[in-house]
């Protein structure tokens, strides 16, 4: 989302911290994300009182309590609706919505879908730890098939949701991914989200040390990162690898991993174009997954120009009022009144 930027009130990270104890488990990835958000907000030039943080229920959804802004910790899965209400009522606020993989994609995916398609200018951060943290370790809709958890002692049998494909299927205008392991990338991604006008959907890989430790380890850990993460940059070819010698090439409609060198040059590679009109490219990116492909990180899709819901609505209101405010007495009287005389 993007919000009218008011004159720089020189805020800093500390201005966004509350005195409340942060009550996540030691080592939880949520701390890093909180940190990143608290670093991002002061850099946006928006006064603190204009921020509203809305969440559902889950470990991740305790987030608003730790942000010294306006905040609303709502009920499970319903944050998109409350965030919508806040934004529709006052489009001038910078609304950040925090959700988890269970909150956002299990009970709450319908509201998320409708938020995304309506394109309200709201930033959505989905903390994906592929587990239910707060309820102590049942599988979530992003858990992999075969995952053994408390509620799936023989392994889960449902095909997981791909949050990015879901967002693309909902025709979200901004779809990105980042990870709790990369502070700089998080801050950059959150800023990009804020500067996009429309709903910005950001999946954040988040580690739950207690119930699903290192679920993204094979991708984001220090050793694997270079070879397993594909950092996306607009206009740049899809290159990755510790030696920047691997890339993604298109073969018909199938992407393939190639090594730069033996006859393959950067020119053969796909160029990152998050702004293409159709979503097929982003759809390809979103389907690239470990271990066959590197995992893309960054902004996969950014479609400018679709009007936001609140702008369109407010415009209808202003238009209706442009010919003068409604006269209440006339409204009540209507076109078919009659008079009873004394």
């Amino acid at each position: 989302m993007s919000t009218t930027i008011t004159e720089g009130t020189a805020l800093n990270k500390k201005d966004f911290a509350t005195p409340n104890d942060v009550r996540w488990c030691p080592g939880c990835g949520d701390y890093a994300i909180l940190n990143a958000v608290q670093r991002t907000l002061p850099e946006l030039g928006i006064p603190r009182e204009k921020f509203v943080v809305v969440s559902g229920i889950g470990c991740s959804s305790r987030f608003p309590y730790y942000m010294n802004t306006y905040g609303f910790h709502t009920i499970h899965g319903r944050a998109p609706t409350v965030a919508t209400g806040v934004k529709v009522s006052n489009p001038d606020l910078s609304v950040w919505m925090i959700t988890g993989d269970g909150d956002g994609l299990s009970i709450g995916a319908n509201h998320l879908l409708h938020l995304l398609r309506r394109n309200l200018d709201i930033n959505v951060l989905l903390f994906n730890n592929r587990i239910y943290g707060l309820t102590k370790g049942q599988y979530s809709p992003t858990s992999e098939v075969g995952k053994k958890t408390k509620s799936t002692p023989l392994g889960s049998v449902d095909h997981p949701i791909n949050p990015l494909l879901f967002a693309l299927g909902s025709e979200a205008t901004f779809v990105a991914r980042t990870s709790d392991t990369d502070m700089k990338h998080m801050v950059e991604t959150f800023k990009a989200a804020q500067s996009h006008k429309g709903t910005s959907f950001v999946e954040v890989f988040q580690n739950c040390v207690i119930f699903n430790d290192k679920t993204f380890g094979p991708v984001t850990s220090r050793d694997s990162k270079d070879d397993q993460v594909l950092v996306l940059e607009e206009g740049q070819p899809l290159v990755f690898g510790a030696n920047k010698d691997k890339g993604i090439r298109l073969n018909g409609l199938e992407p393939e991993v190639v090594t730069i060198g033996d006859g393959v040059t950067e020119k053969d590679l796909l160029i990152h174009q998050p702004k293409s009109a159709n979503s097929a490219y982003a759809n390809l990116l979103a389907q690239m997954s470990y271990p066959s492909f590197p995992t893309p990180m960054g902004v996969m899709r950014q479609l400018d120009g679709r009007e936001t819901y609140e702008d369109a609505l407010c415009q209808q209101v202003s238009l209706a009022q442009s010919k003068g405010d409604g006269n209440l007495q006339e409204l009540l009287t209507g076109r078919n009144s009659w008079v009873v005389e004394d």
Binding site: V82, V86, N90, H111, W338, V339, E341
Partner: protein, 613 residues
């Protein structure tokens, strides 16, 4: 304009019912007859009655749609128990309605539809119109409406099938003649609706209406005509209003009086959809309306908007109320103002979606988990929905609480004349806003109302966080046992204390006696009529109609104790009765009806009579 001839029989009131196929335009002619009667200065009450299907197969019983109204020169509180005159457009309409017509009642029949195939669809083996018994039983008027209408429209350019579709107005014209109704309001309606877009339709319908009227003048059987004089009404400007319209207006006026923008968020459902539709048209009045993806979302949007400072409202019916329960709990514990309207219909489950009932009262009181009492109001007539809308807003903003407002299908769709209030004379509504100069303590309370104050996002220095976990006065999450008990009791006390702001109970009749009838909601008209009649006959019966179901008015127990018996008629199996019994330990008699229909005055009268003397 056609002058009514003057061979009128003066009557005090009359009940007319139109019935036909869903596609026959019965609701439209009913509404027109109502307008015309209101314009003529009568008091009125209406009862539209239509099936759950949009347009069930033509000619079947399932497709019958009806509209009944009562109009009179005395106070009219109900649409009438049984019709004096019944107009039926086809055999199915006859079959579905004839049992209600008393012997000697006027029966206007569109005979050309009484063909074999239609008779069969309605389940008639033989044509009842050929049965001599039947013919003698009623004051039968047989009209070939299709033929007559086509004839009347011979000169117009409409297609024959379109001509035939004007027959409802022909029938209406005929009934206008019988009851000496003015044609102007209807002609004006044609003009407003079609003159610009479809002038040939406006003309054709006018012709049909007038032809029907003129037929009355020439037709032997229609000779006796009735005259219903003006009702003695308080001077003022009047209009006809339905419950849903009145609710829309009440909310909009309240938003202006409270100086908060109205945000409505809803999801279509019968019979609450017109609230969404009505408010969607009022953008000029600063109203933002959102059609949400479902009722949970509607409530979430409303709650978010309330947090952001709007006057938030949502309306739905029973199934939607089920979906709002969890959010209602959150609204209650965060103490945000919000109006939740339930326009009740027949339940349980999908039930009878186009029929009326009052069976969601206990749900309104107890749907959510935890101890979570909320104010519950109920409107008692179409126009009372205006007052209740305003009152709900007053309570919500004064006490910082969600408020549940109950209406029902009968009120929502029914209409009555309404003396339009002067907007400037209506009282202002106070907000409970935080003081910007003080440290903001979220759940610090006004000692009088126990309401907390509200700080609005965007206000500098009042940043704060709320949520559904139990919390201390400062809003910090608290699992402290004593705090939880204190907070739970404070929230309950706040709601209980709202009764201090109520007007005193109005008793219809003596303030003590044999029988007290306690009602709530849409049964007001029927109860008042029945009780009024009995009192006129000398019985010691009084009635109290509750606007507030929670908290109950402070003096209610006293009032009850002054009567030998207390009876509670409700369109459910005894829900208010249960509440009153629990609270006052009085052996309240419950009289329940669950037929998707309002009480008849006569059945109430009979029941009340069982309990006096």
């Amino acid at each position: 304009m056609i002058q009514p001839n003057d061979s009128f029989e003066e009557i005090e009131s009359a009940v007319v019912r139109f019935a036909g196929d869903s596609g026959d335009g019965m609701q439209t002619v009913g509404e027109r007859f109502t307008d015309s009667s209101a314009f003529a200065g009568n008091d009125i009450a209406t009862l539209p009655d239509f099936p759950a299907e949009i347009r069930a197969p033509a000619g079947t019983l399932a497709g019958v749609s009806g509209f009944q109204l009562q109009f009179g020169s005395r106070e009219i509180l109900t649409p009438g128990d049984v019709p004096d005159a019944l107009v039926v457009m086809n055999p199915a309409a006859l079959k579905a309605n004839i049992e209600d017509l008393p012997e000697g009642g006027m029966l206007v029949v569109n005979v050309d539809s009484f063909k074999k195939i239609n008779l069969a669809k309605a389940g008639y083996d033989t044509n009842p119109l050929e049965d001599e018994e039947f013919r003698k039983k009623y004051h039968l008027i047989e009209l070939d409406l299709t033929g007559l209408t086509k004839e009347a429209l011979a000169e117009t350019s409409l297609k024959p099938s379109d001509k035939a579709r004007c027959k409802n107005f022909f029938a209406l014209g005929f009934m206008y003649f019988v009851y000496g109704r003015p044609l102007e309001p209807t002609l004006k309606f044609f003009d407003d609706k079609w003159a610009k877009r479809l002038p040939e339709l406006a003309e054709a319908n006018s012709l049909a209406l007038k032809a029907g009227y003129n037929l009355g003048d020439t037709l032997e059987t229609a000779r006796n005509r009735y005259q219903v004089s003006k009702v003695a009404a308080q001077p003022g400007v009047y209009r006809k209003i339905s419950g849903n319209e009145a609710l829309v207006y009440g909310l909009v006026v309240a938003s202006k009086k409270a100086n908060r923008d109205l945000l409505y968020s809803g999801y279509p459902i019968t019979p609450a959809s017109p609230v969404l539709e009505g408010l969607s048209q009022l953008k000029k009045y600063g109203v933002k309306s959102v059609q949400a993806e479902d009722e949970i979302a509607a409530m979430g949007v409303a709650l978010g908007a309330s947090f952001a400072g709007a006057l938030s409202v949502c309306a739905t019916s029973g199934p939607g109320m089920c979906l709002k329960s969890e959010f209602i709990g959150l609204a209650s514990i965060t103490e945000l103002p919000l109006i939740i309207c339930n326009v009740q219909r027949g339940g349980p489950s999908t039930g009878l979606p186009t029929k009326t009932e009052q069976s969601d009262l206990l749900q309104a009181l107890f749907s959510r988990h935890g101890d979570c009492p909320l104010p519950v109001l109920a409107a008692h007539s179409p126009s009372d929905c205006f007052d209740c809308g305003m009152e709900a807003v007053r309570i919500a903003l004064t006490y910082m609480t969600p408020v549940i407002l109950l209406s029902d299908l009968y009120l929502a769709n029914g209409s009555e004349p309404w003396r339009i209030p002067n907007v400037v004379d209506l009282p202002g509504i106070e907000n409970s806003f935080a003081n910007e100069d003080e440290e903001y303590v979220i759940y610090r309370r006004d000692p009088e109302t126990l309401a907390r104050t509200q700080a609005i996002p965007g206000q500098v220095g009042l940043e704060h966080r709320i949520g559904g976990l139990e919390k201390g006065e400062d809003g910090g999450v608290s699992y402290d046992p004593e705090n939880h008990e204190e907070m739970t009791r404070l929230r309950a006390d706040k709601i209980a204390g709202i009764s201090k702001s109520f007007d005193p109970i109005e008793i219809r009749g003596e303030s003590e006696g044999d029988l007290l009838v306690i009602g709530w909601g849409g049964t007001y008209g029927a109860i008042s009529s029945a009780v009024g009649n009995l009192r006129d006959e000398g019985f010691s019966v009084s009635s109290v109609h509750l606007r507030y179901v929670n908290p109950l008015p402070d003096e209610l127990g006293d009032v009850m104790s002054r009567f030998k018996k207390v009876i509670v008629p409700e369109l459910n199996l005894g829900q208010l009765a249960m509440i009153l019994r629990a609270k006052y330990l009085i052996d309240v008699i419950s009289y329940g009806k669950v037929q998707g229909k309002p009480f008849k005055v006569s059945e109430l009268r009979e029941k009340f009579l069982e309990h006096v003397n």
